[in-house]
């Protein structure tokens, strides 16, 4: 696993830095063959467990796969994703802008840090999922509630990562920029933000992961739409293969999104890592 990106991650209540770690996609450096073997083995274990069967509610891998294509064919899965992905995308984008902005301000400006950061430390360590039923009660079952659910979960990690990255910027580069007559704005633009960007990106990835949790949770708890509704619906009809297929698809989608984000980050924003 690639070491070196400090994600800080959730609940560091005292702001102690967690050990260096890059979540999601740290196994990129493995040869592709091993990954395929790993996937095949996982599918085989699933298939065997389903054949035994472990439980009446545990379909085999092949049944689940068939159910997955069935769901795509009858259009219910694409429709559900249409309804789920809109608030997810909106919430994540809003959280990204708001979070990076707020985190940067708090990292640069002490009174902002004092006033705002403790709130996010609490929100980060606490089970904010408890708010989601409340949000859905207030804002109904539409887009707003789901977007808010995404933001409640995604915002803290983005703010805190950005804040920590800006705060812990490489001191020697700051001095260097000052000695070559950099202005305050140049220091922020040319040193602080580039230096902080790996950790900010890690925060954005964690934010996206949290956003997936938020939207699924909102749909499962109250809002009878989207992926959450599909899961609940098939559970109530005991169509376990369809239910598992839906769940596996959202986990796969979240994983692929995170890997894609990392790929984009390295390709577009971190030229020095490309050949490394």
């Amino acid at each position: 696993m690639a070491i070196g990106i400090r994600t800080g991650e959730e609940g560091s209540a005292g702001l102690a830095s967690a050990p260096a770690r890059s979540e999601a996609g740290g196994w990129r450096d493995r040869p592709i063959l091993l990954r395929i073997i790993s996937i095949v083995l996982f599918a085989m274990v699933w298939e065997i467990a389903g054949r035994i069967p472990v439980s009446f509610a545990f379909p085999t891998f092949l049944d689940t796969l068939a159910a997955f294509f069935g769901l795509i064919a009858d259009g219910s899965l694409p429709m559900a994703y249409l309804s789920t992905l809109q608030p997810l995308l909106l919430g994540v984008v809003l959280s990204a802008f708001l979070g990076v902005g707020l985190g940067t301000i708090c990292g640069l400006w002490r009174p902002g840090e004092w006033l705002v950061i403790p709130i996010f430390i609490v929100l980060q360590a606490a089970p904010v999922a408890a708010f989601i039923p409340m949000v859905t009660f207030v804002y109904g079952i539409g887009m707003t509630a789901k977007t808010l659910a995404v933001m409640i979960l995604a915002l803290p990690v983005i703010v805190l990562n950005t804040y920590k990255a800006v705060r812990n910027v490489n001191e020697s580069l700051l001095v260097m920029c000052r000695s070559f007559l950099g202005t305050r704005w140049q220091v922020v633009e040319k040193i602080i933000l580039p230096d902080a960007s790996p950790v900010i990106f890690a925060g954005l990835r964690l934010g996206v992961a949290a956003g997936f949790v938020g939207v699924v949770l909102a749909e499962l708890l109250i809002t009878p739409t989207g992926i959450g509704d599909l899961i609940t619906f098939h559970r109530s009809r005991a169509d376990y293969a369809e239910m598992y297929a839906t769940i596996a698809s959202i986990i796969a989608l979240s994983t692929l999104t995170l890997v894609a984000l990392q790929w984009v980050e390295v390709r577009v924003f971190r030229p020095e890592k490309r050949g490394a």
């Binding site: 770690r21 996609g25 699924v216 994983t255």
Partner: protein
């Protein structure tokens, strides 16, 4: 921050927010937000009710069981992945996927596999907490300086002694960090699990309070939960501080 020459601790700003909450609550601007003093009163009232005590007991029991399982299984698994290349190659990908996947989607599966009871909650805590413990333990074991292991070998350490006296200790800072993050995820797991099952523990209480718009009690329960989460994080952090000196010295 310093104010008039005094250093004001950062967490002190939470008091300012509580004050703002009180004012907004008094002004009756948002009906969801009763004054903070009412909420505090509700906390005092709530902890005396048998329903809260029962819910707390259920919740704690499920949390402790799930966390114990996650630690007992997660740490050895992490050590295995850190030491054995094949295990790492085969499992690493899945551990990484599950550590950042929307696990809340899996809770309905747990519900049909384990029923609408405490076992589902235990499974949810376990499922939320274990992956980060495995990842951090693995990272810790990977970080151990090879010369430390060679040292132990050269002095004739048995395999057992190597693991018990060197590897586990050298990786301890990361293991504790993993457990701390795991505990926080575990708290989220217990709450999400109970919210979805919604007939036991705090989930049932939340359900009752928010359905009937008993806001003071809703917020009181939230505060108790948040305080519990922060307390756990703080306690583990204390333990981490004790081993931090050599975590820093190793780099």
């Amino acid at each position: 921050m310093t104010l008039f020459g005094y250093r004001v601790p950062m967490m002190a700003s939470l008091l300012v927010w509580c004050l703002a909450w009180e004012i907004v609550g008094r002004l009756d601007l948002v009906f969801l937000l009763p004054p903070f003093s009412d909420v505090l009163r509700a906390v005092v009232g709530l902890v005396q009710t048998p329903s809260w005590q029962g819910a707390t007991l259920t919740t704690l029991r499920a949390f402790v069981t799930g966390m114990t399982l996650a630690i007992v299984i997660g740490v050895p698994l992490g050590v295995l992945m850190g030491r054995v290349r094949v295990a790492d190659d085969l499992l690493g990908m899945w551990v990484n996927i599950f550590s950042s996947a929307p696990l809340s989607a899996l809770v309905p599966v747990l519900m049909i596999l384990f029923g609408f009871g405490e076992r589902t909650i235990v499974a949810a805590v376990f499922l939320f907490a274990i992956w980060i413990i495995v990842l951090d333990t693995r990272a810790g074991v990977r970080h151990i300086s090879p010369s430390l292991i060679e040292m132990a070998r050269s002095y004739g350490a048995t395999r057992r002694a190597l693991y018990a006296k060197i590897i586990l200790w050298a990786a301890l800072p990361e293991i504790l960090a993993g457990i701390r993050l795991g505990l926080i995820r575990g708290v989220k797991g217990v709450v999400i699990g109970q919210l979805l099952v919604s007939i036991i523990g705090y989930g049932a209480l939340f359900e009752t309070f928010s359905r009937n718009f008993r806001m003071a009690e809703f917020w009181a329960l939230t505060i108790i939960l948040f305080a519990f989460a922060l307390l756990i994080a703080e306690l583990i952090e204390r333990a981490e501080a004790k081993v931090e000196y050599y975590a820093g010295a190793r780099q």
